[in-house]
Symmetry: C2
Subunit: 339 residues, 2 copies
Amino acid sequence: MKRPTIADVARRAGVSKGAVSYALNGQPGVSEITRQRILAIAAEIGFSPSRAARSLSGATADAVGLTLCRPARTLGIEPFFMELISGVEAELSARSYALTLQVVADQAAEVAVYRRWWGERRVDGVLVCDLRVDDRRVPVLEELGLPAVVIGGPGGTGGLASVWSDDAAALVETVEYLFALGHRRIARVGGLPALLHTEIRTEAFTRVCRRLGLADAVTVPADYTGEEGARATRRLLSSAGRPTAVIYDNDVMAIAGLSVAQEMGLAVPGEVSIVAWDDSPLCQLVHPPLTALGRDIPAYGAHAARQLLAVIGGAPADRVQDGTAHLTPRGSTAPPRAG
Amino acid sequence: MKRPTIADVARRAGVSKGAVSYALNGQPGVSEITRQRILAIAAEIGFSPSRAARSLSGATADAVGLTLCRPARTLGIEPFFMELISGVEAELSARSYALTLQVVADQAAEVAVYRRWWGERRVDGVLVCDLRVDDRRVPVLEELGLPAVVIGGPGGTGGLASVWSDDAAALVETVEYLFALGHRRIARVGGLPALLHTEIRTEAFTRVCRRLGLADAVTVPADYTGEEGARATRRLLSSAGRPTAVIYDNDVMAIAGLSVAQEMGLAVPGEVSIVAWDDSPLCQLVHPPLTALGRDIPAYGAHAARQLLAVIGGAPADRVQDGTAHLTPRGSTAPPRAG
DNA sequence: GCGGGGAACTTAACCGGGAAAGTGATCAGC
DNA sequence: GCTGATCACTTTCCCGGTTAAGTTCCCCGC
């Protein structure tokens, strides 16, 4: 019932608590026989050193923080965060680091959380998601000196370490694929415009379309929810000179878009081709299954966690590139029907 | 850069650190003028007390733990956990408690995590998900004396506090609704059979079907993934005397089932009606939109968190009932087509 | 037989707070 | 004018580890 302390172990072993500390941490200063005896006693009474006491001397909390700044409803439907977290976790728990999670309302709250965590020494570092254009968290983290790895970029990460994926290249690949199929009117339903990766994708989209000579390459901003995806799709598909292909910034909006197209009596992929960013099992459950840009999100998370641990360990704040998303063609894309 | 301590505040205020401690904690022992001066200085230099030092004296970690024991891919697609977490978080962060998350491989690992967390005083209590039949975590938690709230039941929670929802009643309501529509051959695609709530639902299903005189009320076990949902559906719909209605234990399997039915040329809801457990925006994105059993998962999580904080505070280990899921009829259910 | 050098410990200081006990000074009451 | 209470602090100890600085004791060499 009562949690044993190092003093309990010492008493039972008939040694001082210093000796127990040496024994448990594999340091010289105790004989092998004594060490084994101490370890056996510690295991027997279920002793594990108090993290608080340890971090009070040692200065590390053995925990990293992650804040999520999205409304509850979009957090739930998007597999991205949960997959990211499970990847982060895999890496952290292998080194017995804990993950402290906090859902915040806005960036101001997030910055406050960072300050508190660091002041309280609750975490040794943080992972930063949903990087924004001119993100106010970046200068704060730099000022605090709180070890951090930004999941996102490239660019906009200041002097902080980051792990990024080349969304621009993935988008170019997608547009070129649709172009090769014969599409000339391609539209895009984007994510939240304030997010940096949305801007990166939008810019890449505009650039590649101009290069290919596609005039009206429009991006309709949305917010990753099905409702917004549906509304944007309705707008696009009811316009004069409607697109023959639509790229969506996440799977939920793509599925909503597919529904809207079918509702409007448009054949997919005959009259409209659909591509989803973020491949997920859902993309394969609908009819037709969605062509999607997928990548290994848990690995991305693990990569970020690994880098954060390195930065905490004193490594320089590198900007590391993770794998680029690759296109998996499925039934939702085809050459546009002539007409 | 360097994190200030209480001694820094004391030095700048020209008082002892004891005085600073009283001032910050709102205790008597300092004059109001001094208190204000100390608070101003603390705010100015960005001081927040070290959690480690505080919990070393005070014994509370101001953190609760949550372990998730599902493979990464099913964690991602199911909105349940993320919604639960956001609800838990809302309650915890209001009382500035932190949430420590750990993804584990199996129950043995989970038990080890509990032992470590408690021994390390990393958490003040834990939330237990995915309660199993004869769950081995329950006796361990009781033995450790680690405050815990089980999210699940009723039953199987030993002497631990719990928050539960009446799945049996919700299932009965669903079957009666389908019966009233005229369905006489109703099947169910269940979740993992090892989970207690699956067993509760299965038993309730069997009982209500017997009561209504529905002979072949079969439950096909599955694992919440789309693939298994599709496989189970294929099996059910290709059998002789195929069901005219199928109830799925989660939304992903229901969507997969809908796809399979449409693939097999069966009209939904004309030839097969479909009901999903766990309503989510996805259910409204497919065609036809799915009739679903929904409830407020974030509120469920908040409820559990609130109870855990109460138990940590010394409240008795009650078993509290949360709201029952309610049926939202949509386009996927209708009277069976005569034939 | 005695000093030197380790090995195997013990002791004690420290980390950063909380809180009980102690210290002056002021003030009220008799 | 003395006692006692109260205020506003300061001092000191404690939490449970880590670790630098001793302290024994034993072995070895000369």
